[in-house]
């Protein structure tokens, strides 16, 4: 079964708006990562947050982690058409492998 579950499954917003995606997981983790996948391409690492961190920023990305609720959120501010992609959370449980969620499809309309 999937360790991470993203919500919503799909999100459509206007350019300039913020996009928020959520990820819930089941077991204790070492870290949680977010990846992006453009159509027909491989995944690209965006940002990592460790289990002892609560918030992290990278450019227009903001990630939060609540280990008590076993959840994380990815916020993309001032979205652009080029942000249109699928976004996946991945949890590092045992240190050797990442377990991915089903992803959120983001569409940014210009």
């Amino acid at each position: 079964s999937q360790q991470g579950e993203e919500d919503p499954q799909a999100l459509s917003i206007q350019e300039g708006e913020n996009a928020t995606m959520n990820c819930s997981y089941k077991t204790s983790i070492n870290n949680l990562q977010w990846y992006r996948q453009n159509s027909g391409r491989g995944l690209v690492h965006l940002i990592l947050i460790r289990s002892n961190e609560r918030e992290k920023h990278s450019g227009r990305l903001r990630v939060t982690l609540d280990t008590s609720k076993k959840s994380s959120s990815l916020l993309i501010t001032a979205s652009r058409a080029a942000d249109t992609a699928s976004y996946f959370c991945a949890t590092d449980v045992h240190g050797n492998k990442l377990v991915f969620g089903a992803g959120t499809i983001l569409r940014v309309k210009s």
């Binding site: 027909g40 391409r41 491989g42 995944l43 690492h45 990592l48 050797n96 990442l98 377990v99 992803g103």
Partner: protein, 116 residues
């Protein structure tokens, strides 16, 4: 620097045929992974390797075999393809050296496999 390269990019098989997918990385990464991606299910780990000559099962290993004879290559084999193996297959690698591990994965561009 090519990163992670997967061959072939597309393949169509008939049920019962066999094939091997090749993953090559030029980053001297210790860990390598094979995932499959199906609509609505995200990525599921098939097999992985934490070093040359070692392999381990992931979440969905049945029907697949792997080999890591050289550090830079990780092969995924289908001995007798089934329609349920129609999927997009991704290889990934991860840097580990001297006890230092980079947590992020680097992915190839994928192989689209159809089994008829």
């Amino acid at each position: 620097n090519a990163g992670v390269t997967q061959t072939p990019k597309f393949r169509v098989l008939k049920t019962g045929q066999s094939m091997t997918l090749l993953c090559a990385q030029d980053m001297n990464h210790e860990y390598m992974y094979w995932y499959r991606q199906d609509p609505g299910m995200g990525l599921r780990l098939i097999h992985y390797s934490v070093g040359e000559g070692t392999t381990a099962k992931g979440e969905v290993p049945d029907g697949y075999n792997v080999s890591r004879l050289k550090k830079q290559n990780f092969l995924l084999g289908l001995e007798s393809a089934a329609p349920s193996q129609t999927s997009v297959y991704f290889c990934a690698s991860r840097y580990v050296a001297g006890g230092v591990r980079d947590e992020k994965l680097f992915f190839g561009s994928g192989t689209q496999l159809s089994v008829l």
